[in-house]
């Protein structure tokens, strides 16, 4: 079986480092834990990541591995995901933009996402920020498609109510 090369690893890191960081942040609620998990994720990818070369949907595979690492993290910390009611958005660095409205919206979206329950937060993050389809989310998170749709609907309803004033301005 073909093994992962340094070039593959570099490409995967460039493509997914931010995405998996955002995922880990939404799943754990802590920036430093998310950074540690990103490092653990890429170490795991480097040592056992040959399967990604044959994965049909690369990003779904990436977030499947990320979900497993998150479960391990929760087990290590003997914490259930539901216990983290809200995520801590402090210390997060947003991508820079010259558009002040976009920066404001981005920050508001971040705060609104941080206040969601973890299950809905993860689904919303994968849909809004990573652009995964509902089917990809269902596959990567090992949950039924209907559950994904339901969680996304609840999450978007809450986001809409929190961001309604800003959304009205941009629509």
């Amino acid at each position: 079986m073909q093994s992962l090369t340094a070039l593959d690893l570099q490409r995967l890191h460039t493509a997914y480092a931010d995405g998996v960081f955002r995922y880990f942040w939404t799943a754990t609620g802590h920036v430093t834990d998310a950074e540690d998990l990103v490092q653990e994720f890429f170490v795991k990818l480097a040592t056992h990541g040959r399967a990604i070369l044959t994965a049909q949907i690369e990003r779904a595979w990436i977030f499947t591995v990320a979900r497993k690492l998150t479960l391990d993290w929760h087990r290590r910390h003997q914490r259930r995901p539901q216990c983290d009611a809200s995520a801590d958005p402090t210390d997060l660095i947003l991508t820079t933009t010259e558009d002040p409205d976009a920066a404001l919206l981005g920050n508001e979206l971040l705060l609104a996402l941080a206040s969601l329950p973890p299950d809905q937060r993860v689904v919303a993050e994968l849909r809004l920020w990573e652009g995964l389809s509902l089917r990809e989310i269902a596959e990567s998170q090992s949950i039924p498609l209907q559950t994904v749709a339901s969680r996304l609907r609840y999450a978007l309803d809450k986001l809409r109510s929190k961001l309604q004033h800003l959304y009205s301005e941009i629509s």
Binding site: H13, A17, V38, Q39, R160
Partner: protein, 129 residues
């Protein structure tokens, strides 16, 4: 009716376009270095395992080859065996056959010890051939 995020795909597009949280540069560098270190370590271990396997195979191949060659040489050098089992008794019998001792007591003891082997005025030490 207000447009909802689900009914308006632009809402999702907008969400994707908005600035997103990113990994801090130092954390990015740290994770990349750790990944490369792990990759080189994994490659080294993989190479060592292959090397160990090759040595194992070579050792056993050579060992078995040496065994078979030795066995072949011994077989070629060994003397031809006797043509039949009867002739072995004829050949070997006189060699092992001992005269009965002169002492009658001892002869009686030997006769009791080897009742089947005291024919012909001698005994055979209980050997079968």
């Amino acid at each position: 009716m207000n447009p909802t995020p689900e009914s308006d795909p632009a809402w999702l597009t907008e969400g994707e376009r908005l600035p997103k949280p990113t990994l801090r540069p130092e954390a990015r560098q740290r994770s990349l270095e750790a990944a490369f270190a792990a990759l080189s370590s994994a490659q080294r271990i993989s190479y060592q395992e292959k090397s160990r396997l090759r040595k194992f195979v070579n050792f056993h191949t050579l060992g078995w080859a040496a065994c078979w060659i030795t066995a072949g040489i011994l077989w070629l050098q060994s003397p031809p065996s006797a043509p039949s089992s009867d002739s072995s008794a004829t050949v070997m019998g006189p060699i092992y056959q001992q005269p009965m001792p002169q002492d009658p007591e001892m002869a009686k003891i030997i006769a009791s010890l080897y009742p089947q082997r005291t024919d012909g005025g001698g005994y055979y030490f209980g050997l079968r051939y």
